[in-house]
Structure formats: structure tokens, C-alpha cells
């Protein structure tokens, strides 16, 4: 369901909008001025469409539109400006400020519905693009680019908040052998199933991505070394204790883990942290696999 923010100081207009849009299957949040709208847009990440009245107290719609385009980078917000001004130059100013569409007051029922449908189509396209750009198509985990960006962000945050961040680098033991013996389709399916087991076993604020090949990277914010050890151990059991169903029958698969936390190595860069986890993973492999090594 598409979540919509309406910024409109006139209660009659916002009530008409809310009633109609709820009926058409949108989830609607109403704000009464530009300032309030800006707060909600920043706080509620689910909002993907905004209808902004041109003339409002505090911040005008067109000004808010510029602010959103300048400051909100993460997720595309489809903006419809609401105006009783249907003068050519106002419409152009609105588009130049970053609006995607405009609706003139008084509303026309069917036109409103049709313009919202256009917005919905564009939002669904951008969501799809975003998914394609950030997700790994095989495992549905974050892709390398995306998980590394998250790591950068979390490291900055850990410096700012003075809390440790931990990462887990893991890979499947003898994955090459699985591929060589049972074929790549079987290998893919093992990787998929392990990914989904991992996903089910992460905390809400942890992120997991495919770093490359069969190497998966987990980011655990606010996590000490002893915590990451415990989590890594839990993960190893969760992944390996039950056999994985494949087309060639149930298969025992184990993983090796390198786990590190910035608790013991503060002021480390993202790159160095990855390197440390890679080294730990390498040691785990040398120790005979199916085990965890920490920094």
C-alpha cells in the first residue's frame, strides 16, 4: 500500500483528499503546515508520495518541495503540488522546484484519481529500480555496493555515538566442491537457503549482504566482541545443525566465520575492518573450517 503525506491547512480540502484516497487504497497521513510535513517526511520512511498545498503557513508548498529535493536523498518522494493558481508561470515554478505533478483546486474527482495513478506507477517503478540496484538477485540479500555503503554509515555512526560496531564475514565450507560435484544450480540453491536461514536469524537492526561469491557480510551495530562471538556461534549452529534440502537430497553444509568488533580496534576504517574480518575468516579456514575466529 502506498503511504501518502498530505500537507494542507484547509480542513475541507484535506478531508476530501483523505476520504477519496483511502477509498482508492492509499494510506493517508495529514499535516496542517509545511513545518509539520517536513518533520513527518524525515521521520516516516514509508511515505512515498506527498501532496503539498502551495499556500501554507510556516513553509509554502513550493519551498518545501525544494527543501525535499535538496535534503532528502535516500528514497524518491513523488511530489504533487496543490494549487488554486493555474497560471502558467506558477506551474513552471512548481516543476522547477522539483514537483512531479500538480493538481488545481477545486479538485476534479476523476482527474485526481488518474493523476494519483500516474504517481503510483512511477513510485512502483522507482521501487523496482531501487530493489534491482541494491539487492543481490540470487540471495535477495543486499548486494556488495549496498552492504558496503551501510558499513560506511554504521562506522561513522559508531564514531559519533561512541558505540562499537561488529561485522561477521562468513563463507560456505568447500563451496567449490559442492559446485563441482553437484553442479552450479545446486550450489546456487545451497547459497540461497543459507542466506534465508541467516536472514531469519538476524536482529532487526542487523544488515546482511553478499560480499562476493559465497562470502556473506553481516553488519551488527552496537555490538561488542563478546556479543558478536555469541551471535556468530548461534548463526553457525542455526545454519549447520539441520541438513539443507537440495534436488540431489539432503546435504550437510558448514560455514566458517570471521567476526570482529571495533570495541577492541577503535578508529578503524571500513576497509581495514573488512580486512580484519577477512583475516579472521582465513584463520578459521586454516583451523579446519566449521568454526569461528575473532580479532
Amino acid at each position: 500500500m502506498i503511504k501518502v503525506l498530505i500537507a494542507e491547512d484547509d480542513p475541507v480540502s484535506s478531508k476530501i483528499l483523505k476520504r477519496n484516497m483511502t477509498k482508492w487504497g492509499y494510506e493517508v497521513v495529514i499535516t496542517k503546515n509545511g513545518e509539520e510535513a517536513w518533520q513527518v517526511i524525515q521521520d516516516d520512511k514509508k511515505i512515498s508520495l506527498a501532496i503539498l498545498d502551495w499556500m501554507m503557513p510556516e513553509i509554502e508548498g513550493v519551498e518545501l518541495c525544494r527543501k525535499i529535493r535538496q535534503e532528502k536523498k535516500e528514497k524518491y518522494l513523488y511530489i504533487i503540488l496543490l494549487t488554486s493558481k493555474d497560471r502558467q508561470e506558477d506551474i513552471i515554478e512548481g516543476f522547477n522546484a522539483g514537483a512531479d505533478d500538480y493538481i488545481t483546486k477545486p479538485f476534479k474527482y476523476l482527474e485526481l484519481k488518474a493523476r494519483l495513478n500516474t504517481g503510483k506507477r512511477i513510485i512502483e517503478l522507482t521501487n523496482e529500480l531501487e530493489r534491482l540496484a541494491n539487492r543481490d538477485s540470487l540471495t535477495k540479500l543486499w548486494n556488495r555496493r549496498s552492504i558496503l555503503r551501510t558499513l560506511d554509515k554504521e562506522i561513522h555512526r559508531s564514531h559519533r555515538e561512541n558505540k562499537p560496531v561488529a561485522i561477521i564475514m562468513l563463507d560456505i565450507d568447500n563451496f567449490k566442491k559442492i559446485n563441482d560435484t553437484y553442479g552450479h544450480l545446486c550450489g546456487d540453491s545451497v547459497l540461497q537457503k543459507i542466506s534465508s536461514r541467516l536472514k531469519k536469524n538476524t536482529r532487526k537492526y542487523d544488515e546482511i549482504g553478499r560480499y562476493g561469491g559465497d562470502e556473506l557480510l553481516m553488519i551488527l551495530p552496537n555490538c561488542t566482541l563478546s556479543n558478536v562471538k555469541k551471535i556468530a556461534d548461534r548463526i553457525r549452529h542455526f545454519v549447520c545443525d539441520r541438513k539443507i534440502k537440495t534436488e540431489t537430497g539432503p546435504m550437510s553444509v558448514t560455514i566458517s566465520i570471521g567476526a570482529v568488533s571495533t570495541e577492541t580496534i577503535p578508529d578503524i576504517s571500513a576497509e581495514e575492518l573488512i580486512k580484519a574480518s577477512d583475516n579472521a575468516l582465513y584463520k578459521a579456514k586454516n583451523k579446519g573450517r566449521n568454526c569461528i575466529v575473532t580479532n
Binding site: D9, D10, V12, I16, K105
Partner: protein
């Protein structure tokens, strides 16, 4: 409501169309409008008295929007006069628009009383 004779006060069918034909919801909206108008009119009186023309413009604009959305042509026109008075910084015009708004609002109320 008979449309032809009262189209200057309310264009009922066009207002009804705007809410997808839901008559009871339209009634709810009109009640909301009347309540909101009452508050805004008091603010307008104050703004005209204090010659706060920016506020005259803002409230006029807002009333123009809600009047338009409920298809109330004469109230829409009176609100437009108010907005323009604010824009042109013309206090005499604002005073006239205030009287006009008051008259039109009374007419709407009378009409609703008769037709409910």
C-alpha cells in the same frame, strides 16, 4: 436540493461528484466548512481591524479553496475578493469583502436550514 435555482449558493451536483457521490459525507464536509468558517471569520475580523493584510490574504486564500471544493460560487468569489484585498493591501476593499462574506455565509445557512 434543487440545483438550478440555487446554483449561486451551492452547485450541489458538482460538489457531490467531487466526493464520489457520497451524500452523507458531503453533509459532513459542509458541517466542517461551517465550523471552520466561523473560526476563520473571527480571525478575519481581527485581521481587518488590525489592518494585518498578510493575514487577510492568507485566510481569504484558504476560504477560497474550501469554498471552491464544496462548489460554493458566491462564497468563493467573496473569499477571492478578500484575498485580492490582502494582496493589493487595500483595507477598504477588505472591509467590503468582509461584509460580503458575512452576507453570503448567512445565505448559505438559510439555504441549508430550508433544505435540510
Amino acid at each position: 436540493m434543487r440545483n438550478e435555482q440555487n446554483s449561486k449558493i451551492i452547485d450541489y451536483s458538482s460538489a457531490l461528484e467531487r466526493v464520489g457521490g457520497d451524500a452523507s459525507f458531503l453533509k459532513e464536509l459542509i458541517d466542517l466548512y461551517i465550523e471552520d468558517f466561523g473560526e476563520k471569520f473571527v480571525q478575519l475580523q481581527k485581521a481587518v481591524e488590525q489592518e494585518n493584510l498578510d493575514q487577510v490574504k492568507e485566510i481569504g486564500h484558504s476560504l477560497k479553496g474550501s469554498s471552491g471544493n464544496l462548489s460554493l460560487p458566491s462564497l468563493q468569489e467573496a473569499s477571492y475578493q478578500m484575498e485580492m484585498a490582502g494582496k493589493e493591501k487595500n483595507i477598504e476593499k477588505a472591509k467590503k469583502a468582509l461584509t460580503l462574506l458575512d452576507q453570503e455565509f448567512r445565505q448559505l445557512n438559510e439555504f441549508l436550514l430550508k433544505n435540510n
